[in-house]
Symmetry: C2
Subunit: 412 residues, 2 copies
Amino acid sequence: MKLANEIGIASTHLEALSFNPLELGVIQAVRQNGYLSRTDLSERLKYSRASLTPIFTRLVSLGILTEVGQGKSGGGRPPIMLGINGSLGYAAGVDIGATSIDIALADFTGQILERCSEQADVRIGPKQLLSRVKENLIKLLSKRGAGQDRLLAIGIGVPGPVEFATGLLIAPPLMPTWEGFPIKEEMRRSYHVASIVVDNDVNIMAKGEQKMGAGIGLDNFMFIKIGTGIGCGIISAGEVYRGSDGCAGDIGHICVDAEGPVCHCGNRGCLEFVSAGAAIAQKAVTGVQEGKSQFLADRIKAKDGVLTAKDVGEAAAAGDRLANEIVRESGKLIGGVLAGLVNFYNPRAIFIGGGVSNIGNQLLAAIRHTILSRATALSTIKLRVEYSELGESAGVHGAIHMALENVFIKTN
Amino acid sequence: MKLANEIGIASTHLEALSFNPLELGVIQAVRQNGYLSRTDLSERLKYSRASLTPIFTRLVSLGILTEVGQGKSGGGRPPIMLGINGSLGYAAGVDIGATSIDIALADFTGQILERCSEQADVRIGPKQLLSRVKENLIKLLSKRGAGQDRLLAIGIGVPGPVEFATGLLIAPPLMPTWEGFPIKEEMRRSYHVASIVVDNDVNIMAKGEQKMGAGIGLDNFMFIKIGTGIGCGIISAGEVYRGSDGCAGDIGHICVDAEGPVCHCGNRGCLEFVSAGAAIAQKAVTGVQEGKSQFLADRIKAKDGVLTAKDVGEAAAAGDRLANEIVRESGKLIGGVLAGLVNFYNPRAIFIGGGVSNIGNQLLAAIRHTILSRATALSTIKLRVEYSELGESAGVHGAIHMALENVFIKTN
């Protein structure tokens, strides 16, 4: 930890530093690749070693880059590799769900060091919920023996549409008291040197999958979160695509049945209203009333009349016919919408995550079957349709990486 | 034309030149803005005037940039503006449709100087069709008194999916003999100094609308071509989005009716099969057989039993009830698919073009109404849904600009 102490002074003044485009190019190339030799960087950036040398010297002396050992020799002496200095400071990823907070503390390479998770209802409002986030951050930092001034980057995912530049929630259906609340400013009161980003939870999950999961190396893919609602994070040309108003990926309200039931949004037959968690549970309750499943009838009795999508998943795993039908029907509806989006967007992969994705393999099988039979041949030849590799950790990983990407973007 | 002659030598060797990233940055910034002062460029690129001066000098002496007059004064002497040297050479835009070729010749700023258009069936095969393209290019160049070596950039739009890097068509349904045919190489035999790009026709139209039409200044929008089929060009973060296999935007085969008629692709109820040109004509024929329109019955008699979507549009304009119903139904089906895509993609605008878009305002009205009533509130607040401003010229404009954007991308 000697290096961390030595560079402590520099790091707390990170915000006061400024970098020219070439310096930012070097930092970005190193972060994207993990580590690169000086020659690699010269080749990638198409600048001579001579013109880059003062830049390498400055970035190493500021403690932003560090020499991380020897690379593979191309014949002569093996080159020394440059990497991001992990001990430059800490980065935090905060994944705020409708009913839970997940927080992870990482070093500056994005490696998670500490984690915690607790139940919290987002409807208690932003002030109260963010104060719980802050308390948890202090605890995690203190486990590493670090003060608040060592937290230099914070990424926060929230379950609603976000205007990314300001970090403000826009018309969030689940959490109306959060609309327009200055999350960044509220966090900056306690972490005044930190660079803070706020984004929609599914965008954050897509970023996590891209950086640490099954999306590594993919330019274009979709991350589908199936839970209470259904949302989609979009990676386009290696970047999160947010759309013109920050609400891209809001696929839960795509119509799948013009004559279907009226959704809370006012339209009929919205995808999430007929296929997500609540719909799965409701269909099971109806099926039990019609005497179609003894397994679920017993379960509903044991749970005082309340069934969840998780119960249906367990029934399906136990071979219950009603449960399997319900899960397959959801997969078919979701797959139908995704087939259309595959034609439009031609992604390399679709990763399925979120609470309801744990419901079993029938769901994935039905989604995949529907996409492959309904989308065009060319768009599906190389398409992967899989469960998220990171699962419930996609959010915190993504929040950390999105925060780190935004630390060095300031130029003078 | 003195300048053009003076720089003739340099321009024919354009391919032999190489530019560093900063030089390319200067060229790109000037092209995107039309013209900029040296101070503007220094501010935009965040490099000092001193470090940019040798770059300006080189680019002006090579005849790539030219001084194009005085800009607005910020107090002192009005600055001299730099622009792309329009007379550096010629650029051609070639829009190959299923049954027609449109060709335009432009200067190096993208200003169209000459145009021609002729009927040609794409099914005659690539060799024959491209030789007609070449003949027309020679004619257009000779009108300007220029030889073939003065054509330095060629953009070609084709009605099928294209692998952009190679310019090869992949599994094109309308033109199977074109699959894998080396269009770029075939053109380069005659225009060996030209930079050549080949792309799908709808991508090219989207690019045209972005550069010269209603899409100027918009980062994210969709261009919908409604003709024999239905396709979509996607602009994402200011660039054409082609997807992972070059087939992004293939929305014609999105399912709108799982119980609908079987499309030539083998699936049921594909959007284009139930709503595009052929479907409109077929519905009109059926309606006439059922005695629902005297206007169309007369028309069908006058045309020996053949009706087109254009006839239905004319009937609708004349107030024919059946025709209006058919057009509205198509608009509703197309609007329903677009509503889902608006939720997913959150574009700033949708522009409607292609032959069938001339069918009248009922079509646009129905598309717009359906999108606004079905997509989420947030995604439609600022959404524009309009006919293409460029109409049938979108293709050649886009082909020219796509070609020009690719002239200077080579680095050493």
